[in-house]
């Protein structure tokens, strides 16, 4: 038990101040960051459900907020946050199964998850606006 951490060659927690940024470090931080974001976004989901159950006036109030500039920005951020956490969460499940630990693959997956989240988010918004146009 006297082996130093360096000798054991195990990865340490990312220390933001002293280490060069890497894709794997950024994706790990993003996972936590988006997790907190999703928790906050859940408040919006609750508000939406309550307003829908309460009546047209309450729903109009909610709709007014989410269709405002700030509301759209928050909603877009929530979509992006949810998408990233979904992609990277699946990767976490692979890790829990003891898979995908190689260095090169980890870097590739980090970029893939960021890219996938952006594509999914844009897809959701394009389809959403198309639905609004059709409605």
């Amino acid at each position: 038990m006297t082996t130093s951490k360096r000798a054991a060659g195990r990865p340490l927690s990312p220390h933001l101040g002293i280490w060069r940024w890497s894709a794997t470090m950024a994706s790990s931080i993003l996972h936590r960051f988006t997790g907190v974001g999703n928790a906050i976004g859940t408040g919006l989901l609750t508000w939406w459900l309550i307003s829908l159950a309460s009546g047209p006036e309450a729903y109009a109030q909610f709709s007014g907020f989410v269709s405002s500039m700030l509301g759209q920005l928050i909603l877009f951020g929530f979509t992006l946050s949810l998408s990233y956490h979904l992609f990277n969460g699946i990767r976490h499940l692979f890790w829990d199964a003891g898979k995908n630990y190689d260095v090169h693959g980890s870097v590739v997956w980090s970029w893939f998850n960021v890219l996938g989240a952006i594509i999914l988010t844009i897809g959701v918004w394009v389809l959403g606006y198309a639905m609004m146009g059709a409605a």
């Binding site: 936590r32 997790g35 907190v36 999703n38 928790a39 859940t42 408040g43 989901l45 609750t46 459900l49 309550i50 829908l52 159950a53 047209p56 729903y59 109009a60 979509t79 949810l82 998408s83 979904l86 969460g89 699946i90 976490h92 499940l93 829990d96 999914l120 959701v124 389809l127 959403g128 606006y129 639905m131 609004m132 146009g133 059709a134 409605a135």
Partner: protein, 126 residues
């Protein structure tokens, strides 16, 4: 450290008597949330621009309300554990930590109760 053997520590038989409960629940809710999140995104897309009466009718369908109930429980449970982990990692002052953990738990249960009641009302009243 101390005098305990590594085996005793990994068995999780410390004063807490458990150590893997949160870990397993976080993964179980994560697995459930993969299809539920996709369902949520798909619902939001198909409901975009829906007027109030249509939206309400849409959200009163049994299968939709069932999935939303699952989403709320799995999502807030996952959030409760995840936020608790963040607080445990970064907040070192005991008073602040207890306060934030209580706040997270109250908020998670509060939002879950409010959302479930809303979903139930949509289901029952149509």
């Amino acid at each position: 450290m101390g005098l305990r053997t590594p085996l005793s520590r990994v068995r999780g038989l410390g004063s807490a008597k458990q150590g893997t409960h949160h870990w397993i629940l976080q993964r179980a809710t994560a697995i459930a949330l993969v299809p539920l999140t996709l369902f949520f995104l798909a619902t939001m897309v198909s409901m975009a621009g829906m007027p109030y009466e249509t939206a309400r009718a849409f959200m009163s369908q049994p299968l939709i309300t069932f999935c939303f109930a699952l989403l709320i429980v799995a999502g807030l449970w996952h959030a409760k554990i995840g936020l608790g982990e963040v607080v445990a990692d970064y907040i070192q002052t005991e008073g602040a930590r207890v306060f934030l953990l209580l706040l997270i738990n109250f908020l998670a249960f509060g939002l879950a109760a409010a959302s479930l009641l809303a979903v139930l009302r949509l289901y029952v009243t149509g």
